[in-house]
Symmetry: C2
Subunit: 238 residues, 2 copies
């Protein structure tokens, strides 16, 4: 029977520029036998600590609530919508989100956190660090919290991945009644990011979660940039 | 430490109009001590079996691959986009999805499955059945598979819920650095639906999954129609 387990990794602490995330995650997860990483685990790491480790913090005026807005314009390649202070734009990565993914929560006052330059690469770096230096073969997803049109509320999605497929293509797989299916390209990397968020919460100190029991066929080279980001020409809503 | 478990319920079998889903789910889950339901579980039930039990099947011409298209028009209150055979439209529930949520996979040839009339009510009916007749207090989510703009691939989302919040409002909750957060209304009901899909798959016979270990504060009266569906006036993309 298919069964998965999701748990958070506690005790990672504040992250600073240059920190070695693979080492810190390995150390925190190894502090308890309950959370020790094993081959085949999928690690979901929030963008915030990746941006901090990669020194993607930019100084802003803490007395001006709109001081990050010029940054939003700079980090956007296309503005889709404006309403009041809210800007929905496309980043150079091809993500469409509020404020170009720039975040002020869980960042010290006077600083704004930009998205990582290349989150697939960030995921690969953590995965390679764990594999080569700590001898554990896990997949890594970098997650962020995005809104979406038509539905209220935010959900976590993947902005980068390594060692796990972005999309699992079930096109042509017979359905339970044996008929050929039409299109079912499941964005499992986004479903994994959403699942992880359920144990991380927003105001707790759990920036990393582990999903254990993922289908082994999902664990191949993957990329959010190549598989998930929809090209404008293929997009009906841009 | 926060820890969740997700597993599928097997052995539910083909569903027919009038079937008692609460009884069938209870019977299948009780067939093994590993899957027995307990208070506080969140049950995720795919739309397909709900539509079948509620007799939402409509006959179509099995020799004509476009014979469901008039149904799509009928079930839509607004067409947003057309490309080739694909119609993205708004249903009377306020969902925006491909082909008005009408599905031909996992349905016998010559039939199309419409969405339930009121999936919050469908969820409530299953929850009440399990509570009153089988004495187990679980939350219920009805899930369906939707595409989304800007990102490739489909993910499962909630189209109805009972006994679980649609949105958990973290506005004003201090973040990990003790500062007030701006807006973090998390659509946990969609994250739960996405998580459940990971153990259900598309071509296997697992129409129901259980999420165990949900935060007890999430388990209150909830509604997808009231909490998740964004009103057109509040929507920047309609």
């Amino acid at each position: 029977m298919s069964r998965m387990e999701i748990f958070g990794i506690e005790g990672i602490g504040e992250i600073h520029a240059g920190d070695d995330l693979a080492a810190l995650i390995h150390e925190a997860s190894s502090s308890s036998t309950d959370t020790m990483l094993i081959d085949g685990d999928v690690l979901v790491v929030t963008q915030k600590i990746v941006s901090k480790a990669e020194d993607r913090l930019v100084a802003i005026d803490p007395t001006d609530p709109l001081s990050h807005k010029p940054l939003v314009e700079r980090e956007s390649v296309r503005i889709l919508r404006r309403r009041g202070d809210l800007i929905i734009s496309e980043t150079e990565h091809g993500f469409i989100c509020a404020n170009a993914g720039i975040d002020l929560s869980n960042v010290e006052s006077g600083w704004a956190a930009l998205l990582p330059v290349d989150s697939d690469r960030s995921a690969r770096r953590i995965r390679d660090g764990l594999r080569h230096r700590f001898n554990v073969d896990v997949a890594v997803i970098i997650s962020d919290t995005f809104g979406r049109p038509w539905r209220r509320g935010v959900t976590d999605v993947a902005i980068g991945c390594a060692g796990v497929a972005g999309i699992v293509d079930l096109r042509g797989t017979p359905d339970a009644l044996g008929r050929e299916m039409h299109v079912t390209e499941v964005a499992i990397v986004d479903e994994l990011a959403a699942a992880a968020e359920l144990v991380m919460g927003k105001s707790t100190n759990i920036p990393v979660a582990v999903i254990r029991g993922a289908d082994p066929t999902w664990l191949r080279d993957g990329s959010v940039a190549d598989e998930i980001v929809r090209s404008p020409s293929d997009d009906l809503f841009r």
